[in-house]
């Protein structure tokens, strides 16, 4: 189904979730940390299966919501909407180009940030959006994009040790 073994995919998710939840702080620079879950969603939509990206987004969003302290469900909805957009646009992009993947991560990280803020703003009016929000979202997204361009190669080699297996599904 995914062009690779289910066991490998399961291990991949386990490691990613474990790393993001428990060791994500290691990648923190100047208070910014990359959104590994978003990178995984983009990677999933680009490389593995774009149709199942929203489902993956829901699962990852729920996991994040369980361990976050923000408004419960906001991450899930935001990730889901992003994944839907990604799955739609991924067809029209050069999915093999790592820079394009990085750029997509940047755009969708921004979108995720703003969607999340919008949801919070609608659901919880007591939390106003700070003046630095726009800059913070750009820095954060840029860092995510930088990490994405590098880490996606690693994901690919891990899940598809033999490059010929990548089908770039339509």
């Amino acid at each position: 189904m995914f062009g690779t073994s289910i066991r490998r995919i399961g291990l991949f998710f386990l490691v990613i979730v474990f790393f993001e939840i428990f060791f994500g702080r290691i990648l923190e620079i100047f208070g910014f940390r990359p959104d590994l879950f978003l990178i995984v969603i983009v990677f999933w939509a680009f490389v593995i299966n774009r149709h199942t990206a929203p489902q993956i987004a829901i699962v990852l969003g729920l996991i994040r919501d369980f361990f976050a302290t923000g408004f419960f469900g906001a991450e899930t909805l935001s990730y889901f909407l992003c994944a839907v957009f990604i799955s739609v646009v991924s067809l029209k992009l050069n999915r093999q180009n790592y820079w394009m993947r990085g750029f997509t991560c940047f755009i969708f990280s921004l979108l995720h940030f703003w969607l999340y803020a919008l949801i919070i703003f609608i659901m919880d009016e007591a939390k106003p959006i700070s003046r630095d929000f726009w800059w913070v979202s750009i820095y954060h997204s840029f860092y995510t994009a930088v990490i994405a361009t590098w880490i996606m190669r690693f994901f690919e080699r891990w899940l598809y040790p033999r490059q010929s297996h990548i089908s770039f599904n339509t």
Binding site: I26, F66, F67, G73
Partner: protein
């Protein structure tokens, strides 16, 4: 993705949000459960994360240490300058406070001036102050401090004036012994001590007496303290006594002075007090 499946997942994605807004305790219970369950993992991961990020943080700190060091040095230099300026201002204020009794006694004619230059010639003992004709400082205006007489203005320009000190060779001031009331002429001779001459042989001046201005001559107001008598003797001609007077003012340390300018239309000082 088929529309029905998409709608199903969309509902699934919105569900937690709706659930948390309708049933508030639910997410809190779930989160506290997950936190409690994964507490040991959190602790362990935190320990490792701290160590790993600590390495990065130390490296980053080291990288920025030079720049920070430079910035801190600049800041220290700037603060030191500020501290020095404040110290200087404090000293000036302390000096001015000491001058207040003079200001209260003769408020209409007094102008505060700062010394901007000290004469370096052996023969001419003078200094320049930062006030001139614009501030109503004219020639022969008496210059004093809270300690006593300093000298008089010998040349006034628009915004600065030259002051002749008591120790100058050309300086001559009519003085009176505060205790014996004997009058004499105080002359400068380029040294620290001033020479009081033309004192009557029958006078009772003695060492330790205070000498003040007599008010004669019309330049210096009467009663300005000048100094203390240190030595008394007979002049070479044998007709008069002389006294060596140590001035109250240390001329090398004076920073602010008072210019006792005459009020317009006033020809002479009536009284110091």
């Amino acid at each position: 993705m088929r529309p029905k499946v998409f709608i199903l997942f969309a509902i699934l994605a919105v569900m937690p949000l709706v659930l948390s807004s309708v049933a508030t305790p639910f997410p809190e219970t779930m989160r506290s459960f997950s936190t409690q369950t994964f507490k040991p993992v959190f602790q362990t991961s935190d320990f490792f994360s701290d160590h790993i990020t600590g390495i990065f943080t130390k490296g980053r700190d080291l990288f920025f240490a030079y720049k920070q060091n430079q910035e801190l040095r600049q800041r220290i230099a700037s603060l030191e300058t500020e501290v020095n300026q404040l110290r200087e201002e404090r000293k000036q204020i302390a000096g001015i406070e000491k001058l207040l009794p003079f200001l209260r006694k003769n408020p209409r004619t007094i102008t505060l001036a700062h010394i901007i230059f000290r004469g370096m010639s052996f023969w001419e003992h003078n200094m320049v102050i930062d006030k001139g004709k614009k501030q109503n400082i004219q020639k022969n205006v008496a210059i004093v401090t809270h300690q006593g007489l300093v000298g008089r203005v010998i040349m006034a320009s628009s915004s600065a004036s030259q002051v002749m000190l008591l120790t100058d060779y050309s300086s001559k001031v009519s003085v009176i012994d505060q205790e014996s009331r004997d009058i004499g002429l105080l002359c400068g001779d380029g040294r620290k001590l001033l020479r009081m001459t033309y004192v009557d042989l029958a006078s009772t001046i003695k060492v330790g007496d205070t000498v003040v201005t007599s008010g004669m001559g019309g330049i210096y107001p009467k009663g300005i303290p000048v100094g203390k008598i240190e030595t008394v003797g007979t002049d070479k001609d044998g007709l008069h006594l002389f006294a060596l007077v140590r001035p109250f003012v240390n001329f090398s340390k004076v920073e602010e002075v008072l210019c006792l300018a005459r009020a317009s239309g006033e020809s002479d000082y009536s009284s110091w007090s």
